[in-house]
Every structure is written in structure tokens, then in C-alpha cells.
């Protein structure tokens, strides 16, 4: 493992085990997170990105870890006991969950929430701690008197900022941000996303994984991108390469269906992707995008192996050489 | 051919009659109702009559044994069941009717005067400790018939239904399919019948069953305290007598356990029906 890789995920498989069988939501996912980087994980609903976050942080039945490792700071967190992992949570690795706005209990003040949370991790909720909390609140442009308020008194954007402060209060080495901007208005979105970058730049957090369906926002803040489809990783690379020179048919189709300010339908007609994502219940081998792929061949019945187009750019497609690149945007 | 078509059109009915929980619950409940209807016709004794020697365990002459005074327990139970079931049915129906109307009107006019007024009324009734009210009302009335008891029990049971129905109405109001029907210029009656009532029917049906359960328990409770109908016998009264005479201590298990078991079976069977119906009425749950 290279010195600057803090999370090394190898062939991770996690299925939802239900009565009817296995929903193979995360099926052989491999990637690394480097020190100080923001990795964007993008894909549409059902691609497995949120499941991936839960597999790493909040595994609950029916979500079951099947195989594969996730080595974080030298230890495999998949093999770690619940208690051991709980202690590392918040301090080393932290998640800012989806629907964070509802995570705040309506009957506790914000200050009580902070105190309870940090005590749970065995740390004192003393004046030194609260001094740090106040400093962080000012950093996100919130008046520290918000500590005495109840969640109902705050707007959506403000609550999101509070959650971000809570999740990063112990300076974790890795933060997983799961769709933190999706429920926000456009103006709050930019602020929340930029905040994540600032936290990383100032060293308050080490690295971050930003999970979203919004490629445009990832283009603004991520260093590298990982595209998921149907539980598989289809393409990984530097953000500039993926967004402006994608090689995987799905990535290409996804990017060309994104509206850009300045492009009207009468100038250029954008096309969506016909069809729907595959049903992951008891799904067999093969490329999961093949039903909707214009370049499909017989070989695609076999699950594609991940290959390197260049040292930084990897792809899972048998036919990428014949497809060629597409300059997008 | 016609048979198959019938089931196709009445899909919900098909699922209702083929659901195991519903079948089990209905069977047990109907058996108990049958006991209440036919039991009194079958037994040779009267429930007040000294039918034989006291302290008898169940036998051929006395299927449920005799009380300490020699009254036939079976006769007492089946006549008592009639009275208890009747009160439960009457009270449950009255309570559900009031609760439905109050809840629906409240939810429909939510935020406006009718809602505020009705909810204030509901809250007042909810806050009154029902058992205390029941005891006081019952104790003050010199003569208590089945109807009186039913009304008293219903008076304290309706608020819960009203709140539940109101919240269901509110949630329905925010569903877009009601709006879609409105912009289709559908006749108001059709909207009420298909969009609102149909989606509430299952809810209301299950609420009724729960009410029925609740009112039976309330009336048994009253009867147990001696505040049941002033004349006649009821299940609660049987149990009260058994406890007063220390039946269990004295070894007369049949006097307490059998009536208690029947009461329990009745309540449980109704809950089974309720759970089973939840699957019937929610098409999504069927496919699980």
C-alpha cells in the first residue's frame, strides 16, 4: 500500500439478503482514497453509491458484507468488531449522512447534541471542547449562539452546516459525505460544497469521499472521480479526464445528457439514455450496462475486468478501445 | 368462466378470503359468536339456577363445571358472552361512528374553525380518565341496561378513533392523486368514493376492529368491578364472582380460566384479522 493511500478498498461485495435472494448492490468494488484528496463517487439512483457508504460505516441487516476488504489506516474495517469500530468513528472516519437535516433530535438544543455525541466517544464535553465548537461554527458562518437553539429554529442550510461541524469536530482523517447537497437549495449547495473543500484545505479534515448524482458539483470540488453503475465501478480517473474525456459508454452518455447553461434545445438536442437500470436481485455475471449500451458485443456477457488506460485512468469495459474518446463540454 | 371473472374484478376480496391470518382469526371469532348464539339454546339450565352440586370440575353434565354455589359455569359463560358481545358491538359501532365523523370533518377542514373546535373537544375527552368516568357514571345510574353501558363505554372510546381518522384524512389530502382527479373535472362524489373513501376504507375497517376490542375490554372491566348491567349476567361478572370466591385458590380453576381463556381468544382472534387485513389492503405488502 502506497504511503499516501489512507483507504484501500479491494473487491468489496455487500448484498442485501432478503427472502427472495440477494440484491447485489455493491459487487466487486475496488478503489483507493489518497491523503488530502476529495474523491467523488457518482452515479444514478440504484448504482450502489449510498450502499457503499453504508457498507463502510453503518452496516445493518439485511445489508451483509459478503467478501472483500477495506483497509483504513492499516486496518481492515470490514473485519473489525463493532465496538472497536465505534471508537474510531467520528475521530478517524466520519460520515455526513443523507437526510442529515432529520438527524437532529427536535427536543435537544444543538449544544446538548454536541455534548452528548462527544461524551459517547469517551471525550469530555468541557470548555476547551466548546471553544473549538464555537470556532468551527464561526468558520461555517454561523453565530455560536446557535448552540442554544432548537433544530426547528434553523433553516435547512443552517442545519446542514451544523451537521458538517459535528461530523468534523474531531478532525477525522476521512469524511464520507453522502448526498449532502441534494436536499438543499442551489444557493446553499454551493456553500456546503465549497465548505468541504475549505475544511480539507485548512487541514481540519484529511480526505473526503463525496457521494452524489450531481456530476456538475463534483466537477467543481473533486480531485478524482469514480463512476458507478448497477453496483460496479465503470470508470475512475482525474476529474478533468472523466468529465472532458470519458471513455466508458455509460459515462459518455451520462455526460452528454447533462444540460449546460448556455445550451438551448434549439441549438443542441441532448439525449438521455433509453431504458432503466437492471434489477439487482440475484443478478448474474456480465456488464450491467449492456442492455442499454450501443456498443454491446457478445463479450459483454462476461463481467468486464478493470483495465488501466493510463496510470491514473481506469475503466471496466471490453470494447473501450474500439469506441474511442469523446470530447464533451 | 364467470367464477374466474368474479375473482378478477374483486381482487381484494380474493386476497381477503385466502389470507391465513384472516381465516384463522375469523374462524376462532365466529366459533365464539356461535357459542354465544347457540350456547344458551343448547344448555338445559338457567344461569341463575342452582343446577347441581357446587365445586364440580368439568364433566358430562356440566361442561365447564359448576360454581361454588352449584350454578352451571357453561350456562353462565354463554349467556354472559351474549351480553358482553352485544355491549362491545353497540359501543364499538357508536364510538366508531362518532370518531369517523369528527375525524373526517376535522381533517377535511384542517386549519379552519371546525377543525380547531372539534380537536379541542376531542382533546378534552381524551384527557378525562376513562375508567374513572365510567365508574362514576355507572355508579350514579340506578338502573343500567345494555344500551346505557354501551353509550358510556362509547363516550370515552371515540376520541382515539377521531384522531386516527383525522390524521389519515390529512395525509390523503396531500396526495397528488386527489388533485389529479380534481383537474380531471371528476364528479365530487367519485373523488370522495374512489380516492378518499377507498383509501380510508381499509383503515377505517381496521380501526373499527380495534375499537370493538377496546370496548369489550372496557365493558368487561366495568362488569368486573360490579358496574355492569344491573340485571342479567355478563362475562365480566362471571370473572368477578370467581375472583370474589377465590376460585383459583380453592382449586376451581375451571371457573376463572375457562371464561378468561374465551375472552382472550376473542381479543386475539380480532387482532389476527386486523393484521391479516393489513396485507390484503396494501397491495405492496402482498408481494413480499
Amino acid at each position: 500500500m502506497a504511503a499516501d493511500v489512507i483507504l484501500d478498498v479491494q473487491e468489496l461485495r455487500a448484498y442485501y439478503r432478503i427472502l427472495k435472494g440477494d440484491v447485489k448492490a455493491v459487487d466487486g468494488v475496488t478503489f483507493q482514497v489518497r491523503r488530502g484528496e476529495i474523491l467523488g463517487i457518482a452515479g444514478e439512483s440504484g448504482c450502489g453509491k449510498s450502499t457503499l457508504a453504508h457498507t463502510l460505516m453503518l452496516r445493518k441487516p439485511p445489508l451483509t458484507h459478503i467478501s472483500g476488504k477495506a483497509v483504513f489506516l492499516g486496518q481492515d474495517i470490514m473485519a473489525m468488531g463493532k465496538e472497536t469500530f465505534r471508537k474510531r468513528r467520528l475521530q478517524d472516519i466520519s460520515i455526513i449522512p443523507q437526510y442529515a437535516l432529520d438527524a437532529l433530535s427536535p427536543t435537544k438544543t444543538i449544544g446538548t447534541f454536541f455534548a452528548d455525541l462527544v461524551r459517547e466517544h469517551g471525550l469530555p464535553a468541557d470548555s476547551a471542547f466548546f471553544e473549538r465548537v464555537r470556532e468551527r461554527l464561526r468558520f461555517v458562518n454561523l453565530d455560536p449562539e446557535v448552540l442554544d437553539k432548537y433544530p426547528i429554529e434553523l433553516s435547512g442550510g443552517m442545519k446542514q452546516r451544523v451537521i458538517m461541524v459535528i461530523s468534523t469536530i474531531l478532525n477525522p482523517a476521512l469524511v464520507i459525505a453522502d448526498e449532502i447537497t441534494s436536499a438543499l437549495d442551489v444557493s446553499s449547495q454551493r456553500f456546503a460544497a465549497s465548505l468541504l473543500v475549505e475544511l480539507r484545505d485548512k487541514g481540519i479534515i484529511g480526505s473526503a469521499i463525496f457521494i452524489t448524482h450531481d456530476l456538475a458539483i463534483l466537477y467543481q470540488i473533486a480531485d478524482r472521480l469514480l463512476i458507478m453503475y448497477g453496483g460496479h465501478v465503470v470508470e475512475t480517473g482525474p476529474v478533468e479526464t472523466i468529465v472532458h474525456g470519458p471513455r466508458h459508454p455509460y459515462t459518455q452518455a451520462l455526460l452528454s445528457s447533462l444540460p449546460k447553461v448556455g445550451v438551448q434545445i434549439k441549438d443542441q438536442r441532448l439525449e438521455g439514455i433509453k431504458g432503466t437500470p437492471p434489477e439487482l436481485l440475484n443478478i448474474g455475471p456480465g456488464c450491467r450496462f449492456r442492455a442499454r449500451c450501443p456498443y454491446r458485443t457478445q463479450r459483454c456477457e462476461e463481467t468486464p475486468a478493470t483495465e488501466n488506460i493510463s496510470p491514473e485512468h481506469s475503466i471496466a469495459c471490453w470494447n473501450y478501445r474500439d469506441i474511442g474518446g469523446e470530447q464533451v463540454g | 368462466m364467470a367464477g374466474k371473472d368474479f375473482w378478477k374484478r374483486h381482487e381484494n376480496l380474493y386476497f381477503a378470503v385466502s389470507n391465513k391470518k384472516v381465516i384463522l382469526g375469523v374462524t376462532v371469532f365466529l366459533a365464539i359468536v356461535a357459542l354465544a348464539i347457540f350456547g344458551p339454546m343448547v344448555t338445559p339450565y338457567d344461569y341463575e339456577e342452582f343446577a347441581g352440586r357446587g365445586y364440580q370440575p368439568p364433566s358430562k353434565e356440566h361442561w365447564f363445571g359448576t360454581t361454588i354455589m352449584g350454578r352451571d359455569v357453561f350456562t353462565q359463560v354463554v349467556f354472559g358472552l351474549r351480553s358482553t358481545l352485544l355491549v362491545g358491538f353497540l359501543a364499538g359501532t357508536i364510538a366508531s361512528a362518532i370518531g369517523l365523523v369528527v375525524g373526517f370533518v376535522s381533517g377535511f377542514f384542517s386549519g379552519k374553525a371546525p377543525d380547531e373546535g372539534l380537536m379541542a373537544l376531542t382533546n378534552i375527552f381524551m384527557v378525562i380518565p376513562s375508567l374513572t368516568l365510567l365508574i362514576i357514571l355507572s355508579a350514579y345510574l340506578p338502573y343500567r341496561g345494555i344500551a346505557t353501558q354501551a353509550i358510556i363505554v362509547a363516550a370515552t372510546a371515540w376520541p382515539w378513533t377521531a384522531r386516527a381518522v383525522r390524521s389519515q384524512t390529512l395525509s390523503l389530502k396531500s396526495q397528488e392523486f386527489v388533485n389529479l382527479s380534481r383537474i380531471s373535472a371528476a364528479p365530487t362524489f367519485r373523488i370522495i368514493r374512489e380516492d378518499i373513501a377507498a383509501n380510508m376504507f381499509s383503515y377505517v375497517f381496521m380501526v373499527y376492529i380495534l375499537q370493538f376490542n377496546g370496548t369489550i375490554l372496557s365493558s368487561v372491566g366495568l362488569e368486573f368491578l360490579g358496574l355492569g348491567p344491573t340485571r342479567g349476567i355478563s362475562l365480566g361478572l362471571v370473572l368477578q364472582n370467581a375472583v370474589n370466591w377465590n376460585a383459583l385458590h380453592l382449586g376451581m380453576w375451571w371457573w376463572t380460566i375457562i371464561p378468561g381463556l374465551i375472552l382472550t381468544l376473542m381479543i386475539v382472534s380480532l387482532y389476527f384479522i386486523n393484521t391479516g387485513l393489513d396485507e390484503v389492503f396494501n397491495p405492496r405488502l402482498r408481494e413480499m
Partner: protein, 308 residues
């Protein structure tokens, strides 16, 4: 190109909606305040705003699901508040329809999806004999396979399919104005384009107009000829799409464009962007332009300069 010499098909004049809640301690919320605009045949207009801007409320008032507190709505120069009786309302809904944001909430879960078509036939087209054939025809127009969607329950279909069904339903009638309330916000990126292109094609071929209500500026730019921006119940800026995008005057509009992430360019990391600042900027803007009301920047471009 919008032909402004035609008569507007829909005209909204000083539309206001105030919600009151509670009887004993009344609280008033101003959802929409003095909004005026015109819609012309064959055009797509975006009504853009964030949550709480009042855009959905306007859509519902046009659909007569809510009654305005003040102001008027004219359809083909007739005040829709004067429509009385089932017959008049029916004629209105024959021409004006809506598609809502949540496809799953738009279908009664107890019935099969065919019901939404049956309701239209029952009310508007009772004399049609070959209902199923007509339905299939209109389903094909929205790129749905009749075999896959007819006779299904709503929970068996995807959001995209349900939205197409709702558009198909509107096509059964001769709709002149379609209120599309955030109809693709619950859909995936790859599905959205198909539906948007479909809407544009329908407008081209039938001359239908669409009021496209959304919070997504990029989508608004792509699809619409004319753009309107809402902020806290007021229409702060409106005009031809390209003009509003290239020459935004109101500080709220400018802020919106600054916040939209775009794969064409990167945000300036040195630019500190704080949402609270916007409210201050807007207040200053109104104060410094006090008394000007609405200003006509060009023939189609209008801006709210002050609240008085």
C-alpha cells in the same frame, strides 16, 4: 421566436396568495405577492425559484386547485374565477392540465394506472368507442410500450414511466397550457432528457404552451424560451431566456447563476460565497432603487427594482 403580436393564451395579473393557519392565533404567510406575466401559444416558460418561492402555488392557482387571495388569471381572455358549473370547468380542464412533481403520489395506489385514462374518457370523451386503441396510440407518442405499462399497478412501474403516463393523459385532450410542476426533479439524469425532449416536441407539433416550474436553472435554460425568476413570492426578473441569463440585473438572479455548478467552468475558489449575504444584497438593492417598482430593461426583459 416568440411572436408577441399574438394574443396571450394565459394572462396573470397581480396574483396574490396569502395562507392563514389557525383560528385562535391566526398566522399569515404570503406565498405569492403581486405576480404578473403572460404566456403565448407554443412557448415554454420556466418559472424558476427555490423552495418557498411560491412557484408551486402559482401553478396550483392556474389549475384552480387554490383560490387567489387577490389578482386575476385570464385564460383566452376569460377570467377563470368566473367559471361556474361542471360544464364550464370541464371545458377549462380540456384545455389546461397539469403534471405534478411526485409521480408515485399522483396515482391512487389501489387502482391500476389505466384509471387515470378512464377518468378522462368518462368526463371528457364519453362517446369514444375504441378507448384501448386510443390509449395505446397516445402511449406510443410518449415512447411507452403499451404492453409493459397498461393494467399495471403504480408501484410496479418506475418514476419515469409514471411521468410519461401522466403526460400521455394530458395528450388525450387538446391541451393548450400544461403546468409542469417540477416534473423531472424526482427522475434520474439519464431519464430526464427523454421527457424534456418529448415536451419540446409536443409543443412544436401541437402548439401547446408549458409553464415549466423548476429549481434547476440549467434545465430551464435548455428547454425554455422565456424565463421568470421568483424570490419570496415575488417575480423579481423575467425575460427571454438568453437575455436573462446573459444580462441578469436583480441580485437574486445573479446569485442564482453564480451558484449553479456547470461542467463548462469551475467556481473561483477565492470567491467567498455566503447565502446570508444575498438577503442583505437584495435589501440594499431595493433600498437604493426605492420607488422604481418594475423596470422594463428591454421589450421582453422586466426587473423588480423595489418593493414600493
Amino acid at each position: 421566436m416568440v411572436d408577441r403580436k399574438q394574443e396571450p393564451i394565459l394572462r396573470v395579473e397581480n396574483l396574490t396568495k396569502v395562507f392563514s393557519s389557525g383560528v385562535f392565533f391566526r398566522q399569515f404567510t404570503e406565498a405569492v405577492r403581486e405576480v404578473s406575466f403572460e404566456m403565448y401559444p407554443g412557448t415554454i416558460m420556466s418559472l424558476i425559484g427555490e423552495s418557498g418561492s411560491g412557484k408551486t402555488t402559482i401553478g396550483r392557482m392556474v389549475l384552480k386547485l387554490l383560490r387567489p387571495t387577490a389578482g386575476k388569471i385570464y385564460f383566452q381572455e376569460q377570467d377563470i374565477a368566473t367559471l361556474r358549473g361542471k360544464a364550464e370547468l370541464r371545458e377549462y380542464y380540456r384545455r389546461v392540465q397539469g403534471v405534478f412533481q411526485d409521480p408515485f403520489s399522483s396515482f391512487n395506489p389501489l387502482f391500476r394506472v389505466d384509471r387515470v385514462f378512464d377518468m378522462v374518457y368518462d368526463v371528457f370523451l364519453p362517446d369514444v368507442k375504441d378507448r384501448e386503441e386510443r390509449t395505446r396510440e397516445v402511449l406510443r407518442k410518449v415512447n411507452l410500450n403499451p404492453e409493459r405499462v397498461l393494467h399495471q399497478f403504480p408501484h410496479q412501474l418506475s418514476g419515469g414511466q409514471l411521468q410519461r403516463l401522466l403526460i400521455a393523459r394530458a395528450l388525450l385532450l387538446d391541451v393548450k397550457v400544461l403546468i409542469a410542476d417540477e416534473l423531472i426533479s424526482m427522475l434520474d439524469a439519464s431519464t430526464r432528457m427523454g421527457i424534456l425532449n418529448l415536451l419540446a416536441d409536443i409543443c412544436q407539433s401541437t402548439g401547446m404552451s408549458v409553464l415549466f416550474i423548476t429549481h434547476d436553472l440549467a434545465l430551464g435554460y435548455y428547454i425554455s424560451d422565456y424565463t421568470m425568476i421568483m424570490h419570496r413570492g415575488r417575480l423579481v426578473e423575467q425575460g427571454a431566456t438568453a437575455e436573462v441569463y446573459h444580462n441578469p440585473i436583480h441580485p437574486y438572479t445573479r446569485m442564482l447563476f453564480r451558484s449553479v455548478p456547470d461542467i463548462g467552468h469551475r467556481w473561483d475558489p477565492k470567491e467567498k460565497f455566503v447565502p446570508e449575504q444575498v438577503s442583505r444584497e437584495i435589501a440594499e438593492f431595493y433600498a437604493s432603487n426605492s420607488g422604481r417598482g418594475f423596470a422594463q430593461v428591454s421589450s421582453s426583459h422586466k426587473v423588480l427594482m423595489s418593493l414600493d
